[in-house]
Subunit: 451 residues, 2 copies
């Protein structure tokens, strides 16, 4: 059993600062923790029982040793509470804010010292902690009515920021994909990204790792752990706090220096790591790699029923270093013989507003050997785009096995079509540019040799 | 009365190729045209009456002169049909595809010649035409079940591409803003962007113009008309067909050369015109300027309840040339005296996950004099963000009058909160980066001196 198994699959969890009121953070957190496959021990000297569970006056009164203790009390109380944990808990997650990020560096040093003396592994402070839907572990003080949890899936999130983690969880849910494990480690006095990366490299439930960072403690350790992980599965890293304003913001956020971004960037490149440019990029790429495995090559075929959308996608391909390349002559001749004269048989293949769904099938299979990835644009504003398209796309993806992404705009059958296409394992995007970014993530922006 | 009034406010419209079946394009178009404030004359030799309206064998049989005739017949039939229009119509909109965009340059030359001889103003071919909700004019062959029409509003769309126009209409509807006029002119054998720009400059219903181009006919004419318009109202131009692949795609789309993009770009700059980088940028900027008027300055204050989201926004500000700037000392001291110690009183102002909506109000008014624009980030994953925030934002916007944009992620009260904030005239975005792009459009990316 690995050390971090105790953090992600705790058999027993203490909550210091538990409250009977779901108006309070300590009540929301307890409600969410009660789903755990394991024992919960609320701690609050004012109650004997909360939400039907026996409550303890202090952590010292909890029977035996627990895997994880969660502290939700004001920062000034944390040192004293932490001292009681020696010999009682393996991991202590300090949710409380009010440490180095607001200038209280001494207080933060004190908890580091207490943690070392008590041989405690610390997570946080100033964080939301852990979400592992496979173990029904959820330390977040966010009601389900405010943040719907994503389903179980293959994406792990490692985030220094709780806010960004929340936004990622929402985006992952909206993208119809799911979560393997989530950790938000805030000020990072002990647990940091590298240790989590190494753990996730061997975690079977995790196929993709999405990571948001503002600062990196030990640079070499970080880079080596990131490389170790990225040699095994796609690892997408977003580094924020890039300019002077962003760096200052990052410092007051987690009390750690964001460092020089240009240095970070060039090291990422040297180590063959995959850095995404921004938050929206991160979402688009993460969605793609959670649906399909990256593949070699960079030649893209675009099949569209809207000329302008095809042109926009072609422009974005150029920006992303993807090649369109002429449609081979044999493909052109084949398609010309079956398509109406007003269809454009080139790349993009433009099936126009008079498209029928069979035409997509025809075009895709004809071009299947000549390209590495496929972008299908289906504008549902015209009557010819029907739900049957999802089945054709599934068939194409299954038979050809190369990356396929789809852009569908709003309107008509769009909501149902998107659902069915995504059920077929093909990610759908709301703009031509975002779809190209997804495809680029599957074709050439991987870590390692694709850099 | 201006010439283009006949196109946008026709008293009478002919539809050549009308069909009784709403399975056919000529039936869908007729159904949509029947809403017109004016007379509709379907033309089809096989029927005496369609959808309760008298039908004519040919345009020659229609009584009197009409303002607009719409041709929806195969390309090869268009020359003969067009000849019958001499003296019968002011504007002829040729919806049909199958001209220069598929290599049939001769056929296109022929309709140009017939148009000139018959003194006909031509729109198209290969286009969707006109949508003017203020006159209930809708020439698009798209069923309402496939493309919901946006409401009446202040945004005009001038698009060479029909597909992009459809996507823009959808995006404008989703952004809770509305349309003044839309024109999609396709292969542009006669009517082109410059003439429409000049018309829209004097159009009271239009406050913002969004324009998608692939090619520009007469460059100088285009630039001068664009400058004329942009001196009067915000004009956002997206030029597609940028790289070699995109240029080729643009050519097979509308049969016109996209030209050298670098030359276009430098001319746009010389003329002080506002070019947006891509489709998503266009949507974000268009939404912002449809809600609020651009204002001078580039100093931004960020008020957030999520530290990481604030850092991401700060990074995007740097990329967009917006300055954060330190919070003035007097503001800092004022806020420190009222806020809990774990709030970050800097720029971004971080109200943390324990925020109450009153804190947003406090922070915004305290910073109101020191900044030119405001970005509010409200993550609804925490319980403290409630619907009342919309009212505070409305009050701030009304009293201070400077640009304000908001980023709200999914979850909890988000859908209702977004609706209420947008009703208060403040645009909401789904990511911190997109919100910054919207704010940048309001602060410094205007045409004219802001270039």
């Amino acid at each position: 059993m690995k050390e971090l198994d105790h953090l992600f699959f705790p058999k027993s969890v203490v909550l210091v600062g538990a409250s009977p009121s779901e108006e309070k953070l300590g009540g929301i957190a307890l409600r969410n923790l009660l789903g755990l496959k394991g024992n919960i021990y609320p701690v609050n000297p004012r109650y004997d029982e909360i939400m039907g569970v026996r409550c303890y006056p202090s952590v010292a009164d909890v029977p035996g040793m627990v895997d994880l203790s969660v502290i939700m009390r004001p920062a000034v109380e944390v040192p004293a509470i932490l001292r009681q944990h020696a010999g009682k808990a393996r991991f202590v997650l300090i949710v409380s804010a009010g440490f180095a990020e607001v200038g209280a560096a001494d207080l933060q040093q004190e908890i580091i010292r207490i943690g070392r003396e008590g041989k405690l592994r610390l997570v946080g402070p100033n964080c939301l902690g852990i979400f592992n839907p496979w173990h029904r572990l959820d330390t977040m003080f966010l009601p389900h009515s405010c943040l719907k949890r994503p389903k179980r899936g293959n994406v792990a999130v490692v985030s220094q920021s709780g806010a960004v983690m929340i936004c990622l969880l929402d985006a992952i849910r909206m993208a119809n994909t799911g979560i393997s494990k989530v950790v938000n480690y805030g000020n990072a006095v002990d647990l940091e990204a590298p240790e989590v990366y190494e753990y996730l490299a061997g975690d079977e439930a995790t196929e993709v790792v999405v990571s948001y960072l503002e600062s990196v403690g030990d640079g070499r350790r970080f880079l080596e752990a990131a490389r170790f992980l990225s040699e095994r599965k796609p690892l997408l890293i977003l580094k924020a706090g890039k300019g002077a304003g962003g760096r200052a913001a990052a410092f007051s956020h987690t009390g750690r220096l964001a460092g020089d971004y240009q240095v970070f960037r060039s090291l990422m490149k040297q180590f063959g790591l995959w850095e995404v440019a921004g938050f929206d990029d991160l979402l688009d790429a993460a969605k793609a790699v959670s649906y399909q495995r990256p593949a070699p090559g960079n030649r893209v075929c675009i099949v569209t029923n809207g000329g302008g959308s095809g042109v926009l996608a072609a422009d974005e391909c150029a920006r992303r270093g993807l090649e369109l390349g002429e449609l081979p002559e044999v493909v052109r001749n084949g398609l010309r013989s079956v398509f109406p004269s007003f269809y454009t048989v080139a790349n993009p293949i433009d099936l126009t507003g008079q498209v029928r769904i069979e035409d997509y099938r025809e075009a895709l299979f004809a071009a299947s050997d000549a390209y590495d990835g496929f972008l299908v644009i289906a504008l549902t504003g015209v009557a010819g785009v029907t739900l049957g398209l999802a089945e054709y796309l599934r068939e194409f993806r299954e038979k050809v096995g190369k990356p396929v992404v789809v852009h569908i705009a709003q309107g008509g059958v769009a909501p149902r079509l998107i659902r069915q296409v995504e059920r077929a394992g093909i990610p759908v995007y709301r703009s031509p540019e975002r779809a190209v970014r997804g495809l680029a993530a599957l074709l050439k922006n991987r870590g390692g040799s694709h850099g």
